[in-house]
Symmetry: C2
Subunit: 394 residues, 2 copies
Amino acid sequence: MVDSESPSAARVLQLVASGAASSRTELATALGVAQSTVSLRVQELLRAGVLTETGHGRSQGGRRPRTLAVAAEAGYVCMADLGGAHTRIGVLDIGGRLLHSEEIPLGAGESPQATLDALHDAVHTMLDTVRPSGVLLGAGIGLPGPVQDGAVTLPSRMPGWRGFDAAHALRRTFDCPVVVDNDANLMAIGEARVTNRGKENLVVVKAGSGIGSGVIVGGALYRGNDNASGDISHMRVAAGADLPCSCGIRGCFAAVASGAALVEQLRAKGMAVESTSDVVRAAENAEPEVITTVRAAGSLLGEVLATIVNFFNPDAVLLGGALSTSEAYVAAVRAGLYDRCLPLSTRNLEISRVRTGADAGLFGAGLLVLDTVLDERLAALADSRTEPDEKAGV
Amino acid sequence: MVDSESPSAARVLQLVASGAASSRTELATALGVAQSTVSLRVQELLRAGVLTETGHGRSQGGRRPRTLAVAAEAGYVCMADLGGAHTRIGVLDIGGRLLHSEEIPLGAGESPQATLDALHDAVHTMLDTVRPSGVLLGAGIGLPGPVQDGAVTLPSRMPGWRGFDAAHALRRTFDCPVVVDNDANLMAIGEARVTNRGKENLVVVKAGSGIGSGVIVGGALYRGNDNASGDISHMRVAAGADLPCSCGIRGCFAAVASGAALVEQLRAKGMAVESTSDVVRAAENAEPEVITTVRAAGSLLGEVLATIVNFFNPDAVLLGGALSTSEAYVAAVRAGLYDRCLPLSTRNLEISRVRTGADAGLFGAGLLVLDTVLDERLAALADSRTEPDEKAGV
DNA sequence: CCTACTTCAACCAAGATCGAAGGAAGTGGC
DNA sequence: GCCACTTCCTTCGATCTTGGTTGAAGTAGG
């Protein structure tokens, strides 16, 4: 359940690829493990062909380090972050570097199979342009709703998706290992692993057309009992006492303050907004009506998060999703949170935007699938190395 | 940070003492580790004098097991659970068995030093009666408020305690190792470790004169950033819009539904209640006014917990504290929770009373101090065994 | 050119845990 | 009584990890 600081293959590659470490010694300090341990693991990765020695680095007074680099030709993974109206897709090389990401006009509103087919086409068009070297190792996909066994169990804005085994369908379509998870969970994983703050316990909020969060405990994703952790959309707020929600209860937070709710509210007032991004743009243009609405939504999120922070006492609250790109929104969240939270819990609390921005979910999806794919590959290599040995030995 | 299933000394002893395991083989299956590992650890504990072999068990078709028992003469720890008006004290033997527990009329209302002095006297009177064999190994104390570095940082009903280093004072008074922690945290630890359900992630609520909770993640206590996790008393609820709270904000949950708040409300209506227990008693006697008030408080807790359950998606919510002894209260909590929570999160959720009842906090305090004390003792023994070897060897 | 010093990575021993194997101590059928 | 079988516990090597040491590689200064 915990894999934060362990020198997993994917993590070693990520450090090398990101430039955070380019020699064995640097890896050892970055991972916090003994040099000898790193040495062995690097040897494995070299043999597996996913790392290469590229030469020597500059000496710092002593022996020159042997520089390491990921073998780009070893392959890549591709990711998708499915939203209500838009979908973000991208490619990660084997070292966890984002080679490319883009937004495509594809929503989960269609039938599942049609959506996934369109996604498949879009991904392959992207791959034709990007032309990453090597082979497709795996794919990771984020869906906007609680995911269990590869299927969405509570699709609020996704008609027809309930119980549809997306993982199975994708495996068939893409013909490679696939992981499917909730979008906010993937965002939390991505942000936690790419921007390594010294923080162990995080709440990462995705405020887009819906609102969800991912929870990081001890550096690893906390999934809860049914992989349903992080739901904050159905908290009861006074501001929405009479608004109905897809869950069947009135007064839910997301029914008032989600991007979709803001669009509705503004359209009711005659404004020409279609999506959450439209709302954010209008707010940046300082349209008074919009900015008031956005601030109110942010303040409400702050209030909701105050409850979460009091209970969970995390090291940081990180904001992502389309709404978080609005300065006004973030400011309102901060204000609402500090206003309603115990000083004890906010004293050491960081509240900021996700550093990986709109790509956070893609990073999470890619890194998650890289973990499993690389582990399998190393295990296979270890097997193939021991078996012949036994033959030769006896 | 995680110590749930590891074969720690205290855990081995607890299993033996509780009767859950009386032979090495049973220990191995209970701990989920190899028999050889258990064998070595048992040898250590035998040498340390905290375990003894008592003879043979019944054969089950093969060789008879050698039965193990904790060496009662090896010592004991004593515990205290300090409340606003009452305090519960008890003694644990080295195997984690509760030898005795009682409630004494001592509250945290006095000055800290006076309270601790009175506590010391009460504990020694208790020890004179109980006469546990062996020596006092350590003491664990629970305080009703957030604890940092052995001191309460936000004493809501404890004038004069703010910043008072209780751990230091107790170490001097009792002259033994001491652990001090939040009462709800200790309750969570106690309940999680004594009644080992197959559950990994728990929320344990203490609903007494105040309301707090302890969070168990992966079998171990989750403490958060500032050891301040589990605070649910300051969640905003509609029912208490205008009631002031010690935190300076209006509308806090605990200002409406804590035991202290219920006492106030009922007294304002002319009822003769002094403490939370009085309220519970009156409710059990089916006094209409009281039972309505208690049910309302329970329903509110259920609503608050619905938020927590949606976010945290635990395996179980366990209710403790004086209020939880009221059937009506527990029923109202259940109703409120199921009413406001997503079915997804309650499908596999257990909602029940703590099985260790009023002693949950004592168990937690005792087991926590046993952990550290036993580890130290084994380490000391290991040292004393290696050092002479070196002398003799050279 | 030689020496002193720094840094890197391979090697080694120590500790923990595990699985397999085996001895010890029983039961039960013949 | 003998033998097969079961169960319990210990022993032994294998594996994985870690920290410390050593030798290799290189720099800086005289």
